[in-house]
């Protein structure tokens, strides 16, 4: 069965190093998983839509299309640049305007680029808590790429971390997951709901 993956790249430059990292992770995931369909989404192109959604509380048709793709995907790859200790505000606004329960139980692989290796804990200190809050199923290995990693001597190490992370993603997709997904149905039998037709239950 085809595995569907959405890769979100929050790189703001063009060309973007973060997008390059996302593409490398996607290539590795294709090798690991074989039959995959991948949609790579660059948030830069949605910058206006994301700001509008932050102000109006609803997503434009094309931003909603991305949220729908994210919700429907079997797994997410998230690649962000690290600016001033954390991910860019645009990425946080994208997540803020998404439904809170959109990615419950969904396997998510986290990757980041940064100007120096001293930012390398940003995945664990900034990105991981965000996805814990969203109740995603987070791949244990995070992939951080500093400028050094793109040089010939570092390439091997970066590729090894990428393959380790996509290997973990593959085993998560092959397993039973967290057993939790987004709940779309209205629960007619919650205590609160039942108390409407039967006040004694209140």
């Amino acid at each position: 069965m085809t595995v569907s993956i959405v890769a979100l790249s929050a790189g703001l430059g063009e060309p973007s190093t973060t997008r390059m990292l996302a593409d490398k992770v996607v290539a590795s995931a294709r090798e690991r998983l074989g039959d995959v369909s991948v949609e790579v989404v660059s948030l830069r192109e949605l910058a206006h839509d994301i700001t509008d959604a932050s102000l109006t509380g609803f997503a434009s048709a094309r931003l909603q299309h991305v949220y729908d793709q994210v919700a429907a995907a079997d797994a997410l790859i998230v690649a962000v640049p690290i600016f001033k200790v954390s991910y860019p505000g645009l990425f946080k606004s994208f997540v803020d305007a998404m439904e809170t329960d959109a990615i419950i139980g969904k396997p998510v692989l986290l990757a980041a680029t940064g100007g120096t290796a001293r930012h390398s804990l940003a995945i664990d200190m900034a990105l991981r808590p965000l996805f814990s809050y969203l109740q995603a199923f987070i791949v244990p290995t995070g992939i951080f790429a500093s400028p050094h990693d793109w040089g010939s001597s570092g390439e091997h190490a970066l590729q090894r971390r990428i393959d380790r992370a996509t290997g973990e993603l593959a085993s998560m997709l092959g397993g039973g997951g967290t057993g939790r997904t987004r709940e779309d149905e209205i629960d007619l039998f919650s205590d609160t709901m039942l108390s409407i037709s039967n006040p004694d239950l209140r």
Binding site: T51, T56, G57, F58, I186, L188, M193, S197, R202
Partner: protein, 363 residues
């Protein structure tokens, strides 16, 4: 079909002439707008309830009674009355008094209120908002439907041998609408009691409202009040119109661009495409409004937001004159498409008749 207007009651600077109305001016303008609504033949005027600046309507029944004394046919309503932070006993008393004063020409719409600090200011907890809505409404029903109430709940002092005065006019309590856009429990509450359900249908794409309207219709049928298409549905809407559609766009754009809620965001063109807001000619407003029934099913009440974003009173009154011109066609077209089994919007007179008919059957 009842057609009318609803106001938030915001005091917003006019970005074109740079002035901000005083609270006094805003309150008086609200009265003028309601009188105009009556004059052009609209059915409903509804005011919001707020307890924080920049909003003025903190005391809806005071304003509505004052308007009621100066109008003839207009049904006076709310959008919304806060069922969470108001004492249900005071709601029962205030709105029953209003009902007597205006000879039944009123109803009310209940809502939760989403301004977090208002809850603690009234001694309530916003995290209990849904529970407060349910318990308070169950008490309100008893206060209006039972002569002597013995009651105990979680959120209020118990009542022993309490009689709410005055009793509803003709023994028929004011009709209740429940306004909600996200909370299934509110749709369930409306369905269980056979009350009306209102989706504000402004500021967001109409697709956001369809799920709970359909849920309410199904549950209305589940509780035996009729078929799903017979449930009592109300919708909001928003427009700005001029005879020439380009004039409407040019005049409204400076208000749109800095408006509360959506200002500084999407363009007017993007927003009018995505949401029910129509900026254009009266014909365009007419066509867009009639499409609501295609999407949501035939419904009973349409309320428009017209006094928003700092528009001056003169402009708002002109908007109502233009609405008055398309009103007969709008009514005709809605009536033409409505199947015979879909009921009219409830009025006090019709509900008194229904009650008397029921009594005769029993006798």
């Amino acid at each position: 079909m009842q057609i009318g207007i609803f106001t938030v009651g915001d005091v917003t600077p006019d970005p074109v002439n740079g002035t901000t109305p005083t609270e006094h001016e805003r309150i008086k303008a609200t009265v003028e707008i309601a009188k105009k609504a009556d004059e052009i033949g609209l059915d409903v005027f509804a005011t919001g309830e707020h307890h924080n600046p920049p909003f003025v309507p903190s005391s809806p029944t005071t304003t509505l009674a004052y308007i009621g004394a100066q109008t003839k046919n207009l049904i006076l309503s709310t959008s919304t009355t806060l069922i969470t932070t108001n004492d249900p006993v005071k709601i029962a008393e205030d709105y029953a008094t209003l009902q007597h004063l205006v000879d039944g020409r009123m109803d009310l719409m209940l809502g939760r209120g989403n301004t977090a600090p208002v809850y603690p200011w009234f001694g309530k907890d916003i995290s209990k908002g849904v529970e407060l809505t349910i318990e308070n409404y169950q008490l309100l029903r008893k206060l209006w439907d039972e002569p002597v109430v013995n009651w105990e709940g979680k959120f209020r002092t118990p009542l022993q041998g309490f009689t709410s005065t005055p009793a509803p006019l003709d023994g028929v309590a004011p009709f209740v609408w429940h306004g909600s856009i996200r909370t299934p429990e509110v749709a369930e509450l409306a369905a269980y009691y056979g009350d009306g359900y209102f989706a504000n249908n402004i500021f967001w794409p109409k697709e956001h409202y369809i799920r709970l309207i359909n849920f309410y219709r199904q549950r209305y049928a589940h509780y035996g009040h009729g078929d799903p298409e017979q449930a009592i549905v109300g919708l909001g809407g928003q427009f700005f119109m001029r005879k020439n559609s380009q004039d409407a766009v040019n005049e409204f754009r400076p208000y749109f661009d800095v408006a509360p809620v959506y200002g500084h965001g999407p363009s007017l063109e993007e927003f009018t495409e995505a949401t029910p807001l129509t900026v254009g000619s009266p014909q365009q407003v007419l066509e867009r409004t009639l499409q609501f029934a295609d999407f949501f099913g035939d419904y009973q009440r349409q309320l428009f937001l017209v006094d928003h974003a700092g528009l001056p009173l003169k402009t708002v009154l002109e908007q109502l004159d233009l609405l008055g011109e398309i009103l007969p066609t709008m009514r005709e077209e809605f009536a033409k498409r409505r199947p015979a089994n879909v009921p009219d919007a409830p009025t006090h007179a019709a509900r008194v008749d229904a009650k008397n008919a029921e009594k005769e059957v029993q006798a």
